[in-house]
Symmetry: C2
Subunit: 258 residues, 2 copies
């Protein structure tokens, strides 16, 4: 199994605090050491650009991960993954998150779980590069979204389409995932995913995996709002909400919508 | 105008020496300071995996570029770009190299030049995310390759297809480019691109843009072979060969083929 982390923010926010705690689970506080990855949407006001970092080294040892724990990259949508291989070898091409382009936007996907004997019919242009169940699921979602809409639809329409598509994959096994195109964050929980929303008045929090405390009030303005989605709570003193099995959620501007 | 750098190698090789000299041109020895990017194919024996780093900061100042000048990532196909914006703002989504997936392989493209009034008919699934002539040209090449072959063809067949496609773009302006899918490096020169092949017996060389000398014999085995393609010679004491206008070249295992 793997672990997932995502931030959806009203204003560009850096993930150094969360990513630092999260990557301790890649060999120090937990055993998810078969590669890692993180993607940051940024660029113009529309967040069309994407930085994508992956590495087959454990995130607790990777020099690139070490840089990202120190270097604050501000983004409204950040998706990260630490891998414990189930299907597919420990190779760069099997590291999440995966990226594809659709309708002139990049799409980013990361998965935690295991889809048994999942081999969807991929007749479109989206083909897996590696050999994981996760990338096959992502390619199938991209293929079906491309068939469902001629150009980029509203976040609400995309949510409705995903509500139709996701259950057909989730019956193959645990399908906890993160998906974003820079406009919204979609998450799905099968058995293990939780979230919280941080907003004014901000409090302080201590990481569960590292002896680090932060007072968010020192790093925010009253206008800020951040939703954090993660496999297991990142902090010990905040109220994390566990998703129900089968729950598909949409986050925009740091809060859950619909 | 921008500058291009690529390495095609028989055995996985790091680009720290070349990348270090090259990125001096992003604000120190030259003025290509509107963003940069680099991509490294690696992963399994088949080089299907891809690391892709882009940044809108000047490569001479970017913390990510600074890491890559120090951290040796070994790869058989490396493509880099420093940008001097002509079309498209200084934004992350306009940084080269661009990446798309086709036939279950990642494809990487970087361009130097300017294509005037180039707006190809993009009726397939490959759409530009940013607003550069370069990304439009890449999307058109991907679309036409996808139409020409049902699955990944041989390097020789791909070369023949590219020889048909490229002139239809090159008549719009200067179209110096680098393209790779991890199996080969294709380059095209309109007005400014040169290359060399380093092989046994290896000699030493000094960077043109930085007071750094390297003796390649200290870092290689007799079995190694590396082709370097760059906009302007990287070293002062090696014999760089300038491509003729309109020349499309293919490199495999560190040497020019066909």
């Amino acid at each position: 199994m793997c672990q997932l982390l995502a931030l959806n923010c009203k204003n560009p926010t850096d993930a150094t605090f969360s990513f630092s705690g999260f990557t301790q689970r890649a060999g120090i506080t937990d055993h998810h050491a078969d590669g890692w990855g993180i993607a940051f949407f940024e660029g113009s006001d529309q967040d069309r650009g994407l930085r994508h970092f992956i590495d087959h080294l454990p995130a607790s040892q990777s020099p690139v991960a070490e840089l990202l724990r120190r270097y604050p990259i501000k983004s409204r949508n950040i998706l990260a993954h630490i891998r414990k291989a189930t299907q597919g070898d420990v190779l760069l091409e099997n590291c999440h998150p995966f990226v594809r382009e659709l309708w002139g936007r990049y799409w980013v996907f990361a998965h935690n779980g295991n889809l048994a004997d999942y081999h969807p019919k991929l007749h479109g242009v989206y083909r897996p590069v590696g050999d994981t169940d996760s990338e096959r699921a992502f390619c199938w979602i991209m293929q079906e979204l491309a068939k469902s809409h001629a150009s980029v639809p509203s976040v609400h329409e995309l949510t409705l389409t995903l509500r139709e598509l996701v259950p057909t994959i989730a019956r193959f096994g645990n399908f906890n995932f993160l998906l974003s195109n820079g406009q919204a964050l979609w998450t799905h929980a099968s058995n293990q995913l939780c979230y919280l929303e941080r907003k004014h008045p901000f409090t302080s929090a201590r990481l569960r995996d590292q002896d680090v405390r932060i007072d968010f009030a020192d790093h925010t303005t009253p206008d800020d709002r951040v939703a954090v989605v993660v496999t297991a709570p990142l902090t010990v003193d905040e109220a994390w909400i566990t998703f129900a099995p089968g729950e598909l959620a949409t986050f925009v501007d740091g809060e859950r919508v619909y």
